[in-house]
Symmetry: C2
Subunit: 158 residues, 2 copies
């Protein structure tokens, strides 16, 4: 069973080994932060948290490790339009994280995850992808759906 509590091999070691990547203390720390995070973090957020655990780890390493993790599909990268990317574990431990999208407050930049309406969405996406693939000979690999507006706090402010 995968563990993340220090010494022994953890769930992601296999993914790294299998691709020829080495296990380093920097990568351990970064994965540790991502595993413990409950929301999308920017590279700098991650750097600051990692820095508290191990001040020797540099921002460059954070970016490089995140790039690897995204390419391995272990981490998802999001763009909320505020000029900095956010990162989030794509799977936690054994469990695949649920597919979800985001509500983005255009005033305070708060981001709310939602997993509702996935059935509606699945059906819509299935039809759209099928139709668009055929019409434009486009091989659709992924999609992005985001809603923008005002969160409950901001909508009540003048």
């Amino acid at each position: 069973m995968p563990r993340g509590n220090g010494r022994g091999p953890v769930w992601w070691h296999g993914h790294f080994r299998g691709c020829g990547y080495r296990i380093t203390s920097g990568r351990e720390a970064i994965l540790g932060v991502l595993t413990g995070a409950d929301k999308h973090l920017s590279a700098e957020d991650i750097f600051l948290k990692v820095h508290r655990l191990n001040p020797a780890i540099g921002l460059t390493t954070v970016y490089r490790t995140l790039e690897i993790l995204v390419s391995l599909g272990l981490v998802s990268k999001f763009d909320f339009g505020d000029g900095r990317a956010r990162y989030e574990l794509a799977q936690k431990s054994d469990f695949s994280s649920q597919h979800h999208h985001h509500l983005i407050c255009t005033k305070c930049n708060r981001v709310i995850d939602y997993t509702e309406f996935v059935d509606d969405e699945k059906e819509f996406l299935r039809r759209a992808e099928k139709g668009l693939s055929a019409k434009y000979k486009f091989d659709i690999k992924d999609h992005l759906i985001q809603f923008y507006g005002l969160c409950d706090k901001c909508r009540n402010k003048k």
Copy 2:
């Protein structure tokens, strides 16, 4: 009837005046380029075209004017994830442009507009927005839907 052929007032003059903005030759040129464009242009694209009409107009003015146009809702700003924003007239002359979304090729960055499936989409969005607004007390103002994949040219390359 709105015109865009040089001397007299054109369709957007009223929008500018109404907000206290002045009509300048730079803004005329930029709006002219946008009106004549048939696809999303980057700020630099617009600058280069404007520069051919009037070399005195600087890149800064292009950015500033685009910011105003977006804030007035006359121009839409898109982020296709390649690090530069794209701009497109939100309405052409009297006609509202059709609501559309984008297929983005992750290999060559080509962008295909599509207006298909808007009925499906409208229905899906209507339900999603209604449900999400209620559940999260989120006042949804806008949405973003994009599909990523390989265009017909790139999918056939190794």
